[in-house]
């Protein structure tokens, strides 16, 4: 078995967006010509994540984090370069890759009128799991994430954002992926739900042979959960090290401990908020 969970080799990804521009300034202008604009989401990224590691990608909105996760999920194809998951090329061996991975995204995308059980059953069948294998497992994971049994059969649309995201985490882990892709799994959650999801991620790492790729813009979360962190800004990796190694790059000021935010400011010359304000969301 390959000991490298994810290898990203000089990956570049550009999106083309069309923007409608009125032909004339008149108020009755109907026909618009489309102006094409190229947005570079990832600029020749290189990464190597060994098996068993929890690897964090930290960056502001629009920095290319979700694009990286979508590329690893086989949902996007790179313009240039290659991604390999446990030695399988994402572009040329997508089925081999799909059997090894699962993903939790920032938006808990479900059939809204289905119950958690119905949604998870659908996911389990797509991954070839039997009913007898899937049922006890999905119940156990949902219970572990703090969901009450009474919610298992109620429509998802009646559940809070936090509860929906816990079901999304359960779906991600149900198929026992050896590479779990977590794309801002705690964004928008209340502090209690956030802690529960973070505890579950830590537990996965301690009790299972799962490699985790976590993207976040929560610096504290990255610091707490990840073995190594890559700081990404404007589609480029500007630093990659263990959390302590990153903090050691920036001298402490006024006797305060260096935070990840200090590291980001020192490396990019901007705060997270500035970077997000500048950037149009690209992925």
């Amino acid at each position: 078995m390959c000991t490298v969970a994810l290898e990203v080799e000089r990956v570049r990804k550009t999106f083309t967006r069309k923007q409608g521009v009125p032909r004339s300034a008149g108020k009755h202008a109907i026909f618009k010509h489309k102006k094409k604009e190229e947005v570079v989401a990832l600029k020749d990224i290189d990464l190597l994540i060994p098996k068993g590691e929890t690897f964090g990608v930290l960056g502001p909105n629009g920095s290319g984090k979700s694009t990286l996760i979508r590329l690893a999920s086989t949902l996007l194809l790179p313009d240039f370069g290659a991604l390999r998951i446990f030695g399988h090329d994402v572009e040329h061996e997508p089925y081999a890759v799909k059997r090894l991975i699962n993903r939790v995204s920032v938006d808990a995308a479900f059939f809204k009128k289905f119950s958690p059980i119905e949604n998870l059953m659908y996911a389990a069948r797509l991954y070839g799991m039997s009913l007898s294998e899937a049922r006890p497992k999905m119940r156990a994971i949902m219970k572990r994430l703090g969901l009450k049994e009474s919610t298992f059969t109620q429509p998802m649309e009646h559940m809070s954002r936090g509860m929906q995201q816990k079901v999304a985490v359960a779906r991600g882990f149900l198929t026992s992926p050896i590479l779990l892709l977590l794309d801002e799994p705690t964004t928008g959650l209340d502090p209690h739900s956030k802690r529960e999801v973070q505890a579950f991620v830590r537990e996965i790492r301690e009790t299972h042979d799962t490699t985790v790729l976590l993207t976040t813009h929560d610096m504290e979360e990255a610091d707490r959960l990840c073995d190594r962190i890559a700081i990404i800004d404007d589609g480029k990796i500007v630093a990659l090290d263990k959390p302590d190694g990153l903090k050691a790059m920036v001298p402490a000021q006024n006797g305060d401990k260096t935070t990840m935010e200090d590291v980001f400011i020192a490396l990019t010359g901007r705060t997270f908020e500035d970077a997000e304000a500048e950037k149009v969301v690209v992925a």
Binding site: R70, S73, L76, D107, Y127, S130
Partner: protein
Amino acid sequence: MRSRAVVREMRGAYAFVERNINLIKRYWGWELVWLIYSLTNALAITYIGNGMSAITGQEIDTQAVVKYLLVGALIWQYLSVIFYAISEMIAWERWEGTIEYTFMAPVSRPTHLVGTTLFAIGYGVIRTLAILAIVSAFFHLDLSGANILGAVLMLLAGSVSFVGLGICAAVLPLLYPERGAQMTNAVAAVLLLISGVYYPISTLPNWLQPIAKSSPATYVIQGMRSCLIDGQATRTLLSTAGLLIASGLVVIAIGLVVFRYVETYAKRAGRLKRSG
């Protein structure tokens, strides 16, 4: 190893059947609305035949016209269900926001389509039978001389063609996240116009008739009328049914190739994202 892979694919196909059944259960209100719409549509069209003598003021074999229209309405009902169930498989996923999760699952696209097709045929049969049962209460439908076996054969042969057309149309929501679903409606409307559903294709303008002859629905509906109204023997329909199945398989193969090509394009252009 091979048998495990087959079991896995079968479970994958069943995922789509079960999911669609659950969608019907959860959206039963919509189902009821569409059933009423389809039913009243079939009734309204058939009443045109019933009122033909009154409209023209001439003696007309009303029973024959009613049968002609009713068979057309019911068969179109069935074929359009097959077409929409398959062509909207991407549109539904976009609407619910689950498209990325379905596309990153280890299920091959043919398996995806097999599951969707099995559901579509079962759903289409049940829905059409329900409409037939209700319509029968309004019109006396004498099917004593009908060749039911031949009709079933023609219906199955026509299903193959419509599965292929559905796959081809399903690429539209993949290519055009916002307008794709509406485009599939336009495809269905053109098929309805040219396929002789409510009138013989000989009444169409000359330039439209070659196009009408290229529509598989034209042959399915003609064959169904021959079986149900004229009681035509099954053996005389075998060549038409064979041709429909063969052409349907070709369209399915083309559809799968086109779908694969468009899926790759969507992944390159980033169009799988839920909102496009």
